[in-house]
């Protein structure tokens, strides 16, 4: 039961500014993912919320209480670490019980909670083992169980799946989503993996260069990127960008074609389209095919349009070879426009 408010939080390490001035409100029971490339400040922000890092400026409020000067233990949070941080000198049972013993809970309650969370994470048969006897996936489960056993107001997760192999990651992702939804705990989850972010989040906060560029529902972030960076970071392959020259009256010329766009005074803006929103059509952008990659369900085509590289995800039935010319038409209501000066979306 906790809402989190981050007000003007900034962090500077000596000469390096990791966070500028972050404002973010996370609702009770919401699952928010902080998404960004390494060095964007997402982990720093998480650690500030956890109390492992002191912000240089700003305030952090959890459940209506200002916590930014409190130690981690006084914040009602628990955390899952990237390398799991399962204590190697304690058994799985003692690891999960660690926080409960620190709270001096009565023994039967400790046993009850450890057993319950262990069952929840399917590790009840590992309780007597030590960390060294566990696989990476099992350690991951112990780390999550240890955090859940605390029954915290907020769970913080720092790239919890990044050290697992691809298949295990897929399995754990689905399981985490179920377990966390059932626990009704507010969750902040840091990752650099956009698929993970899309699949888990109620809301994604995309971070870049120490700022939150956009915080919105996954579909919104994907469909309506608020900034050029979001479009180029999310989506695989990412959004295509082509220069657009002003023709006046909200009309723009893109690779020899006229499009209706925003009314902007700028002489040149950027036209953007997702690769799956390009389709072969008679009067489209003329593209010279460079590379063809059949991926099974569809074919990825890399081509140049008026000298600019562009990717299109096309039907796998399409027969196409390098050197061919394709005419690709964008789906009209999926076209987005960006200001090259501010890098922001123009509507």
């Amino acid at each position: 039961m906790a809402e989190i408010e981050i007000k003007g939080v900034g962090k500077t390490f000596r000469a390096f500014t990791a966070l500028h001035s972050i404002d973010l409100t996370i609702n009770d029971q919401e699952f928010v993912v902080l998404l960004g490339a390494s060095g964007c400040g997402k982990t720093t922000l998480l650690r500030i919320i956890a109390g492992l890092e002191v912000p240089t400026t700003g305030e952090v409020w959890i459940g209506g209480r200002r916590v930014d000067r409190l130690p981690p233990r006084a914040r009602g949070i628990s955390m899952v670490f990237q390398n799991y941080a399962v204590f190697p000198h304690l058994t799985v049972f003692e690891n999960i019980a660690f926080g409960l013993r620190m709270q001096r809970l009565p023994k039967p309650e400790v046993v009850r909670r450890v057993t319950r969370t262990a069952e929840l994470m399917h590790i009840e048969q590992l309780l007597k083992r030590y960390s060294g006897q566990l696989s990476g996936g099992q350690r991951q489960r112990v780390a999550v169980a240890r955090a859940l056993a605390m029954e915290p107001d907020v769970i913080l997760m720092d790239e919890p799946l990044s050290n697992l192999d691809a298949l295990l990651r897929l399995e754990m992702r689905a399981e985490l989503k179920g377990v966390l939804a059932a626990s009704k705990t507010t969750t902040i989850y840091v990752t650099h993996d956009q698929v993970e972010a899309m699949s888990l989040a109620d809301r994604i906060a995309v971070m870049h260069g120490g700022d939150i560029v956009q915080a919105d529902r996954p579909v919104e972030v994907y469909r309506n990127p608020a900034a050029r960076f979001v479009g180029s970071f999310i989506g695989n392959p990412p959004m295509n960008f082509l220069p657009a020259r002003a023709l006046g009256e909200g009309r723009w010329q893109v690779a020899g074609h006229d499009f209706v766009g925003p009314r902007s005074a700028a002489p040149q803006i950027e036209f953007a389209i997702r690769p799956e929103d390009l389709h072969p059509a008679e009067h489209g952008l003329v593209a010279e095919v460079r590379v063809v990659e059949p991926l099974g369900p569809h074919t990825l085509v890399t081509a140049t349009v008026a000298g600019v590289m562009l990717r299109a995800v096309l039907e796998s039935t399409l027969v196409v070879a390098p050197g061919d010319h394709l005419s690709l038409a964008p789906v009209a209501d999926r076209i987005r426009w960006f200001d090259p000066e501010t890098q922001k979306a123009i509507t």
């Binding site: 492992l52 233990r73 000198h89 660690f98 709270q103």
Partner: protein
């Protein structure tokens, strides 16, 4: 000759070299032990037999010699004090170096590493005078202070590498699970670092146990075993020397065996 025979011959040569090197290390110790475990008459007799007679007379003579038991006791006291002081001051410093980034860190590291370029036993010369002034002359504590200076840089560097090897994440996890800093240290870091800290304590003990020059300079009445043996070198009979030598060597064998797993933790860090 086929390739495999060349290989075999090479292997045999290699094994022979390893055995030879082991013999080179072990045989001199064995010879000293023969002397220690033979009767005084056999020790001074000639020629010698290469097998001990297991006569404890030399050792009894050594232990009964005036001043020996007192010297042994002094050695133990100084070494234990050195161990406690070196780890007590060195381990916190090692922890600070491993965990924090702060202005002045490089200055401290330089100070520690610099001690290596100095012949530390020479410290005993000025301290001998200084100790008379403050009443520490010829005391166990005075000598232990000098030995601590010898052992401290090692204690700092060894514990630094030990603590660096324990992920900070574990401590942070403890912090998020309800510990304060002190609790996190004692509940998580200490149990993991304890064997290594014990090894470096043993190492500090050995440094003090073996030190000769400062001990000889700083003690007169309360001589340690090394100082006692050194100062009676030209007057003491051979059986006393060899039994005394054995008394110095045997603990060393045990100590090195006890810390063998940590030899690299101690010296591998030497590169930084």
């Amino acid at each position: 000759m086929s390739k495999t025979t060349v290989h075999h011959a090479g292997n045999r040569l290699f094994l022979a070299a390893v055995v030879l090197a082991c013999v080179w290390v072990l045989v001199p110790i064995y010879l000293l032990l023969i002397n220690a475990l033979s009767a005084p008459a056999e020790v001074t007799g000639f020629p010698k037999w290469f097998w001990p007679s297991f006569d404890l007379a030399s050792i009894r003579f050594f232990l009964g010699f005036k001043g020996v038991t007192a010297a042994l006791w002094s050695s133990v006291q100084v070494a234990v004090l050195t161990m406690v002081m070196a780890i007590g001051t060195g381990a916190p410093a090692g922890y600070a170096l491993a965990r924090f980034d702060f202005p002045g860190k490089q200055v401290f590291r330089f100070l520690v590493v610099m001690t290596r370029a100095f012949p530390l036993p020479l410290l005993a010369l000025p301290l001998a005078v200084l100790f008379i002034r403050v009443g520490l002359d010829d005391t166990v504590l005075g000598l232990a202070l000098v030995h601590t200076t010898l052992a401290l840089p090692f204690a700092v560097l060894i514990t630094y590498s030990l603590f660096s090897g324990i992920p900070y994440e574990l401590e942070e996890a403890a912090l998020t699970l309800g510990c304060n800093r002190v609790q996190a240290f004692f509940k998580v870091v200490m149990p993991l670092a304890a064997p290594g800290i014990a090894a470096s304590a043993v190492f500090a003990f050995v440094v003090s146990w073996n030190e000769v020059f400062a001990a000889a300079v700083l003690t007169i009445e309360h001589r340690t075993l090394t100082a006692f043996l050194l100062q009676s070198l030209d007057v003491s009979p051979l059986p006393l020397k060899f039994a005394g030598g054995a008394a110095l060597v045997v603990p060393a064998l045990v100590f090195i065996f006890a810390v063998r797993k940590y030899l690299f933790a101690m010296w591998g860090i030497a590169n930084r």
